[in-house]
């Protein structure tokens, strides 16, 4: 009962917060709701015994990425931004599409038969702690994606500098 209540709380709050994020007129308010949203998602990870991911959620998302969001929001001209209509004209279409997608997902989920747990069942992870289990699998079986991730991060550095560094951009 208690776990269900716990999960229900997080699920409902996450949905409400997501709606608040996308409907606020002031982008700074959106970002602030998003901060709360990230904390609740971290709570959900904790609830799933994934304490390392929960910590990362707080450090990377709530810490670093949210600051990035704020900087971008502060690059906007907020005085004009607040006068702009909150939704563009096509929002009824978007609503219809999202609701039909939701119905489709709910319909499909009812037939979800979870695959049997592999080597990493909840008990196995609890026995050796989540971080160790993650580390073992990330640096052996998932070595290849791990190395690709470094190249993706490198692209982020190049992209930030190419697109935002004005000095390099002046016509020669």
């Amino acid at each position: 009962m208690l776990p269900k209540l716990f999960f229900g709380y997080y699920a409902v709050v996450i949905i409400v917060l997501s709606l608040l994020v996308v409907t606020r007129k002031n982008p700074v308010h959106s970002v602030m709701w998003m901060l709360l949203l990230f904390f609740h998602i971290a709570g959900l990870y904790l609830f799933l015994n994934a304490e390392f991911i929960a910590a990362i959620q707080i450090i990377v998302y709530a810490g670093a990425i949210l600051v990035l969001f704020l900087f971008v929001v502060l690059l906007l001209n907020l005085r004009e931004e607040l006068l702009i209509e909150r939704f563009i004209g096509t929002w009824p279409t978007a609503l219809v599409i999202s609701v039909s997608l939701l119905i489709l997902v709910i319909r499909a989920i009812q037939d979800m038969a979870l695959a049997p747990p592999g080597n990493h069942s909840v008990d196995a992870i609890q026995a050796e702690t989540h971080t160790v289990a993650l580390g073992k699998i990330l640096y052996t079986d998932y070595l290849f994606p791990f190395e690709i991730a470094s190249v993706v991060l490198l692209i982020a550095i190049i992209g930030a500098l190419v697109l935002a560094k004005r000095k390099m951009r002046s016509p020669q």
Binding site: A64, L153, A156
Partner: protein
């Protein structure tokens, strides 16, 4: 517990029952009695964005180091080589950013 409830309760009750009569002068930010000039928020320089972006990238790199350090003794030499490759790739990005004067403020 009771003390917390009492403190919060007082705030909540107060916010419900207190008189609210906002008018233009009252909502104005207080700047030593003068009418406020300009926006409270200034437009930020794009330089902040670059710094934040670089921070995110190296933050994620550090995140990968954490589970690596924990399981390092279990995997051994290969784990070391893996991480060296990972860091070298990002180090190239670091040199690039350095030479493109990403860390110079002006």
């Amino acid at each position: 517990m009771i003390a917390t409830a009492f403190a919060l309760g007082a705030l909540v009750v107060g916010s419900i029952f207190r008189l609210k009569r906002p008018y233009a002068e009252k909502l104005m930010p207080y700047e030593s009695g003068n009418p406020p000039v300009g926006e409270p928020r200034q437009r930020f320089s794009v330089k902040f964005y670059i710094i934040a972006m670089l921070f995110v990238v190296f933050d994620v790199e550090a995140v990968f180091l954490y589970p690596w350090a924990i399981v390092f003794d279990k995997i051994g030499l290969y784990a070391f080589i893996e991480m060296v490759i990972f860091i070298v790739i990002l180090f190239v990005g670091y040199i690039y950013a350095w030479k493109k004067e990403a860390f110079v403020w002006d």
